[in-house]
Amino acid sequence: MKRSIFRTLLICAMLARVAFAAPPQMPRFRFENFTTANGLPNNHVFAVLVDGDRIWAGTENGLAVYENHAWKTYTTGDGLAHRAVLSLALDKRTGDVWAGTMGGLSRISGGRIDSYTQLTSGLSNDVVYGVSVEGENVWVATAAGGCRLNTRTGQWTLYNERNTPMIEIWTYGVSATPSKVYYAVWGSGVLEYDQKTGRWDKYEDPDGENEIVLFKDQGLIHEIVTSVSYVDNILWAATYFGDSRYDGRYWHNFLTKDSGLPSNFTNFIKGVDAKRAWFCTDKGLAYYDGVNWAVYRPSLTDGKPEMTVRDAQGKVTPVAVTTAPAHNYVLGIDFHGDDIWVATAKGLSHGIRQKN
């Protein structure tokens, strides 16, 4: 009897500990937001890139760069291929910035802009959704397949249904490294290019285009892939129907019903390392540290700043905050030390890391 009472008390104590435990320590930020009111050329920010102490923002009306507390905007008059800048990449070896636009690809180098279009160059299509730099190669995701520009020789190589397993040629994102290159393909899963062998491989949703998941973690979560990020030999893939992590052997998928994702509709994904990643969704910005989740956004109901933390047991705890990203429709993110810069549909946000 005594043993039974003791056991019951122990269980209660353990439950209480779980129930009243402090939420995990997740990064907290004070967000400073930039809009047309304080220098941005347009509030619709498709992409953001951190380049040392310069911040580049690809907007619907020009490429803006923030330096020394001031914004400067490059437009088509400066040579930009198109006013709407969809993607950005930094060539760390040269300091050049590559911008994918709705009207071609632009290279920004020391203030000079050289643009490549489907008429003036070997670029396959002028709608450039994604760009990534690896060594002397610039990899491009366009509405008509992928391209690789060798900046040393000027040679363009196109990747499409004729020379890859790509069924659809609507490529949405690209992540290039010296070992592997991954393409996010709308309706055709993830394409993998092995730099050593020159071979292509393909990852698709085992359930096809069904909007159901028969077996969790059996493969890529969905065919409509919007973004890929390859870091520390881990592939992070975003779709409009959940997200995936792939370690070369096993898949792990994330859905709102079994993770801290605020939405399955993910525009952009960026891995920090093998464990951690940021998810840019239509219902806020999410961070995953390998176990726990944090979500940052203006409240979906009253618009007030909101941060929530979800622990490994699925318990969601609100964290009191006074600022949030400019909008909950998030399109891009980049890191600036411990700070983050976030592209949203209604402004650019600087998340300044706060001590917990």
Binding site: R93, T94, S109, G110, T120, G122, Q155, L158, N160
Partner: protein, 636 residues
């Protein structure tokens, strides 16, 4: 009297007969330059002094060596063989190494200055033309003329770590006195950005590319408006004054106004803290142009600027305080140009010192008392006393004692002495015997008519007729009466001079094609492109008429059947739509394209200017197939 007349008549008859036979010979048969003609001349192009001032290093382009001279006696210490067609060299920061950029075999020779031997030969980018080491001795920067970039190399291993985007035809590098920045210039204008109906009539735009040396990134570009052809840069010892030598072509007016200074200005752009906003100042004066400025040196006390002017065969001396008074006479908030003011140079040019043919690199002694000047086409070094502004001695480099017809032709090509007021020579537009990337309105076709893109001269032997409209049957006709009448507007060549000039032009070999594989095979893309180039059926199985196949007009080893065709590119300003099929040799280098330069890239020839498939059947091709075709063309 009658004997004298007979004698004169006889001489005239003999001269004319020789000239006629030579012309006929040139027209009908290929001329091969003797091996000795090509190799034996030294052709000094750049000069350096060792840090202790005891040795003079002379970079000899044609003999492909560095000649080391003792400064006290000018005796040869050693000749060091380097790579093909060396174009630039520099000493390491500690003076222990000499780096030589070999432009035709894409290598860098590393010379130990103690043993005077080549200790390493590193492969580098396409057509390396200049090299500098950073102040720390960790990095080398190499300007690559063909790939339009500056390569960053590990100075100890030669391993390349990055490529920085420079101007088109990147060629000359200068380290700032404090070692913080490297300034890169380029010889061809950057591609035009905008497209309009008059796109092919834009003025050229160039730049000075400013590289942060410690970070090895491009941090700024100083625009040089209306400039095509930018050469050496020099800095004052305090780093406050930068000077760059350049050509300022006036290509938006017909090339028919030499009398009014309407062809070229030869200028310097000044920049830096002493100047503020950049200022372009002319070197020319009314009766004496300073054609083809190349090398620049500034006296250690910043009192004088020395500029070598290859076409005028002289060194121009500028008084810096007077120059500063001139440019600061009125306040400026914007960059300004005095390029067309032929009275300007009288305010600051204090001497013009005659030197040798195609004078190039300059080197001041460290105390500034002597200036060494490389006379490329005389195989001599002029030594100038900078206090007296006169040549005090001429160092003759070992070589042939006689001047061959080929060399005389080259001297004629590079001089401006035949044109009115010495304004222009062949090399003003055909920089280093190539082209200038600029479109011109030439007079013979009428003002505003037949706008033409300047063409590469290499390998043009036996591709008659010449001119885009095929109007000139031979090189002597192209270079003789036409040039004399419409370009020079002054002295005419005598027949032997014209013969020598034609000999030189016909001798110009093509530079190595950088898109071809070393083993002579083709890449898969080039193979696919070749099949498209030669195909007789389109993708729908329809036969392509023979005259509409690429390979028909662009046949033979040089890619031309030398006939005229209408490929649908006639513009309202063109007198005829019939154009000669241009050869394809090194076509990748010669943008813009089409007869009037309206296609900025090879792609635009077919994506923009071939709507009716008259310039070959191409509209059935996919984008990747068109890319393959272009990859093949680049390998021609």
């Amino acid at each position: 009297m009658s004997r004298r007349i007979q004698s004169v008549a006889g001489t005239w008859l003999v001269t004319m007969t020789v000239a006629f036979l030579a012309l006929a010979f040139l027209t009908d048969r290929p001329v091969r330059a003797g091996e000795n003609d090509v190799k034996d001349y030294a052709s000094p192009i750049e000069i350096l002094l060792s840090p202790d001032g005891s040795r003079l290093y002379v970079l000899c382009q044609q003999s492909e060596e560095v000649r080391v001279l003792d400064v006290s006696s000018y005796a040869v210490v050693k000749n060091i063989a380097v790579g093909r067609v060396p174009r630039g060299f520099s000493l390491s920061s500690d003076g222990a190494k000499l780096f030589v950029a070999n432009s035709w075999d894409d290598t860098l020779s590393v010379i130990d200055t103690r043993t005077l031997t080549v200790t390493a030969t590193w492969p580098v980018g396409a057509e390396p033309s200049s090299v500098v080491e950073d102040r720390t001795g960790k990095r080398l920067f190499v300007a690559n003329r063909i790939s339009n970039d500056v390569a960053v190399l590990d100075a100890h291993t030669g391993e390349e770590t990055g490529r920085l985007l420079a101007g088109r035809g990147a060629s000359y590098l200068t380290l700032s006195p404090d070692g913080s920045h490297i300034y890169a210039t380029h010889i061809y204008p950057n591609p035009s950005r905008v497209r309009s109906d008059l796109d092919n009539r834009t003025a050229p735009e160039s730049e000075i590319t400013m590289i942060d040396a410690p970070r090895a990134v491009v941090v700024d570009r100083i625009p040089l408006h209306r400039i095509a052809g930018v050469f050496h840069t020099a800095f004052s010892a305090d780093g406050r004054l930068g000077v760059v030598a350049e050509y300022h072509p006036k290509n938006l007016v017909p090339l028919a106004h030499l009398e009014h200074g309407g062809a070229f200005a030869y200028t310097l752009t000044l920049f830096g803290m002493d100047v503020g906003q950049p200022v372009e100042v002319p070197l020319d004066e009314l009766e004496r142009y300073a054609a083809r400025p190349f090398g620049v040196a500034i006296a250690p006390d910043k009192s004088r600027i020395f500029v070598s002017c290859g076409g005028s065969e002289m060194v121009t001396v500028i008084d810096v305080p007077r120059l500063m008074r001139f440019i600061h006479f009125r306040p400026r908030s914007q960059p300004v140009s005095f390029a067309s003011d032929l009275s300007a140079s009288a305010n600051y040019v204090v001497a013009r010192i005659n030197v040798g043919h195609d004078t190039r690199g300059l080197m001041l002694s460290f105390d500034g008392s002597k200036l060494f000047v490389a006379n490329r086409l005389d195989d001599t070094i002029s030594v100038i006393d900078t206090r007296a502004n006169r040549v005090i001695s001429t160092i003759v480099l070992a070589g042939p004692k006689t001047i061959s017809p080929l060399r005389r032709g080259e001297q004629t090509f590079y001089t401006a002495q035949y044109s009115f007021q010495g304004q222009i020579g062949c090399a003003s537009c055909h920089i280093d015997s190539t082209f200038d990337g600029v479109t011109w309105d030439l007079e013979p076709d009428g003002f505003g008519r037949d706008i033409v893109d300047n063409k590469m001269l290499e390998d043009i032997k036996d591709t008659e007729p010449y001119k885009w409209n095929g109007g000139n049957p031979s090189i002597p006709v192209e270079c003789g009466p036409r040039t004399e009448k419409y370009f020079w507007r002054s002295e005419t060549y005598d027949n032997l001079t014209l013969t020598d000039l034609a000999t030189y032009i016909r001798s110009l070999p093509p530079r190595p094609n950088r898109w071809r594989l070393a083993n002579g095979e083709q890449t898969p893309a080039q193979e696919r492109g070749k099949a498209i180039f030669e195909r007789a059926q389109d993708k729908f199985g329809k036969p392509i008429p023979e005259t509409n196949r690429c390979v028909f007009c662009h046949s033979g080893p040089k890619g031309t059947n030398q006939k005229l065709f209408d490929v649908g590119t006639r513009k309202p300003t063109d007198n005829s739509g019939l154009l000669k099929a241009p050869m394809l040799t090194n076509i990748a280098l010669t943008a813009p394209y089409l007869h009037d330069g309206s296609a900025r890239t090879l792609e635009e020839i077919w994506t923009v200017f071939n709507p009716d498939d008259k310039h070959g059947r191409t509209n059935d091709l996919t984008k990747d197939e068109l890319n393959d075709l272009i990859e093949y063309l680049r390998s021609r």
